[in-house]
Structure formats: C-alpha cells, structure tokens
C-alpha cells in the first residue's frame, strides 16, 4: 500500500501517512477554505489502511492552527482510526501535541478525546 506524503503550505498541513511503519502524522496549519477537498483522500486512504493495519498505529497530530471546517474533517480522520482500533488487529494511539501556553489547542484535543473511544495522549511542547 502506498504512503501519502504532502508538503505543508500556509493553509494546509504537512501529511505523512506511512502504511508500512503505521506512523501517521498531521503537522502545521490546517485552515483551507475547502477542507473536505484536502481531507477526502486522507480519509479514503485510512479506509484502505484499516484492512492491512497491524501492530501499533502511532498517530501524531501537531497543529499550530486549525479552522472549524477542518475540525470536522479531523474528526473524520479520528473516526477512521477508531474503526481500525475496533477491528482489534492494531492498537491505535493518538498523540495530540500543543504548545505549553496554548490552552485552546489542549482543549480542542480534549474535545476530541471526549467524543472518541481511542486513547489520547496530550503532549506538551516546551518552548
């Protein structure tokens, strides 16, 4: 299965989805006007990945900004990861990174955590 690697832009995050290692990373800014267009291929990829995922799926989400339109798409990504977890073939861990004084980003992670049934680890990035 192919990996996805997308370079970040001022409005879209850097993406690294690696089926082989099971490492999934979203990093940077996610503020596109049309977030569905950006996230649809990622959500589709996770659908396929759910058939082959095994071992540990390590998910790193390190966002500086995300808009509300992305927030729904990010939830879709998490729901696909929840599916993988539910199939009992792989263990999914989500690492949610936030800057040490960024309470809004921490709270955003906790919002997701309360909606989903996969383990979240809140990781503070010290300056």
């Amino acid at each position: 299965m192919d990996s996805i690697n997308i370079e970040g832009t001022p409005k879209t995050p850097t993406i690294s989805f690696d089926a082989k290692s099971g490492n999934i990373e979203i990093k940077g800014r996610s503020i596109p006007e049309n977030s569905i267009e950006f996230y649809k291929p990622l959500v589709d990829w996770l659908d396929k990945f759910s058939d082959v995922a095994q071992g540990t799926v390590n998910v790193n989400i390190q966002l500086e900004y995300f808009n509300t339109s992305s927030s729904k798409c990010i939830l879709d990504v998490f729901k696909k990861l929840e599916n993988i977890q539910n199939k009992n073939k792989a263990e999914v861990v989500i690492n949610w990174y936030y800057e040490e004084d960024d309470e809004d980003m921490l709270e955003a992670g906790e919002d997701y955590q309360s909606i989903l049934k996969i383990p979240f680890k809140m990781v503070e990035i010290a300056d």
Binding site: K11, N67, T68, D104, D111
Partner: protein, 187 residues
C-alpha cells in the same frame, strides 16, 4: 441606502486600524490578510498566545465572509465604483486604546435567512463558556456540512475564543436583502 453601507464601513474603519477591506473576498486575499495581521501583531510585541487567539478568530471571521458572499443588486455594485466588482463584503480590524482588538464584518444576507441568523446570535450570546463547549461538541459530531461548505461551527468557535458577547445588527437594504454587521471583541 447604498451610500449608507459605504459610510458605515468608513465609520467602523476609524481609529487605530490594523486592516480594512471592502469589496469581494477570495482565498488569496484571505491568505494575504492573515499573513499581514500576524506580522503586524508580532511586530507590535503581542505575545504568542494572544496572536494565536486573534489569528484563530480572524480565520473564522474571514472564511465566514468568504462562504457567505451574496451578489447584491447591480446598482449597488456600480455605486461602489470598483471595476469588475461582483460581490461585496467588508472587513475591519482595529486596535482600541484599551489594547483590545475589534473585528467588524459586514455582508448581505437574504431576508429569508435573517431569522435563523438572528436566533443563532441571540442563542450564542446567551450561553456560558461551558454551554458553548457542549454545543460545539454536539455540532462537531453531527455529520452535516452546510450547503456553503461551512461546518456551522465558526460562530461558536469565535464565541469560545473571544469570551465576549457578539455585537450584531441587521440593516434593512431592499426587498431581498438585509445587511448584516457582526462584531467580535478580543480582549
């Protein structure tokens, strides 16, 4: 009536201006505004936490305008004397003496949609931070995207991040449109 909207824009553009714009708005313009405001806030010595908050609110305010541009009557567009103008919104950000930032947006709203929008404003202004958080999570977790591509979360997010009540006004324009003025304060 046309002149009123332009003079309203001029009125809110007074004071210590960070950025202002009237006319159409597109994706590139939003990128330019965001970069400009971020630079200017950092240059002003605002701390990273505050810059993030203001930036977040700006993204939502600008993208709200982008997703909800209506085409006003041709006579109004012509009166603006901006060549090729096909849509109209305005956007103003000022810094007040208190150090607070005020973001004011103006856009045309179809009369048929005014009630829903007014109810939404009243509702959000009546909710506590805790209630806003709950509402955000409920809407986040429903699978709907609005016809304009927004997720219906923008105003809730701005209310949560600003911590202040919205200012808003619906100005009667013609048989079809009201002009909606929306104001959010970042203290």
């Amino acid at each position: 009536m046309e002149a009123n909207i332009h003079s309203l824009y001029q009125k809110v553009s007074k004071g210590n201006l960070v950025i202002s714009h009237e006319g159409a708005i597109d994706s590139d313009l939003i990128s330019t505004f965001l970069a400009k405001v971020e630079d200017s806030l950092l240059q002003d010595g605002e701390n990273a936490k505050r810059v993030r908050k203001i930036y977040n609110i700006l993204v939502e305010a600008l993208q709200n305008l982008y997703h909800h541009q209506e085409i006003p009557p041709k006579a109004f567009l012509d009166s603006m004397q901006i060549p090729g103008l096909g849509q109209y919104v305005f956007f103003v950000m000022t810094k007040e003496n208190s150090g607070n930032y005020r973001v004011t947006c103006g856009n045309f709203v179809l009369k048929s949609k005014v009630k829903v929008l007014r109810d939404r404003m009243e509702q959000l202004n009546s909710l506590s931070q805790e209630e806003l958080k709950e509402l955000y999570k409920i809407i986040l977790n429903n699978d709907e995207f609005s016809e304009k591509g927004g997720g219906g979360l923008g105003f809730i997010d701005m209310a949560r991040k600003s911590g202040n009540k919205f200012g808003y006004e619906f100005i009667n324009f013609d048989d079809k449109f009201n002009f909606f003025i929306f104001e959010v304060l970042v203290s």
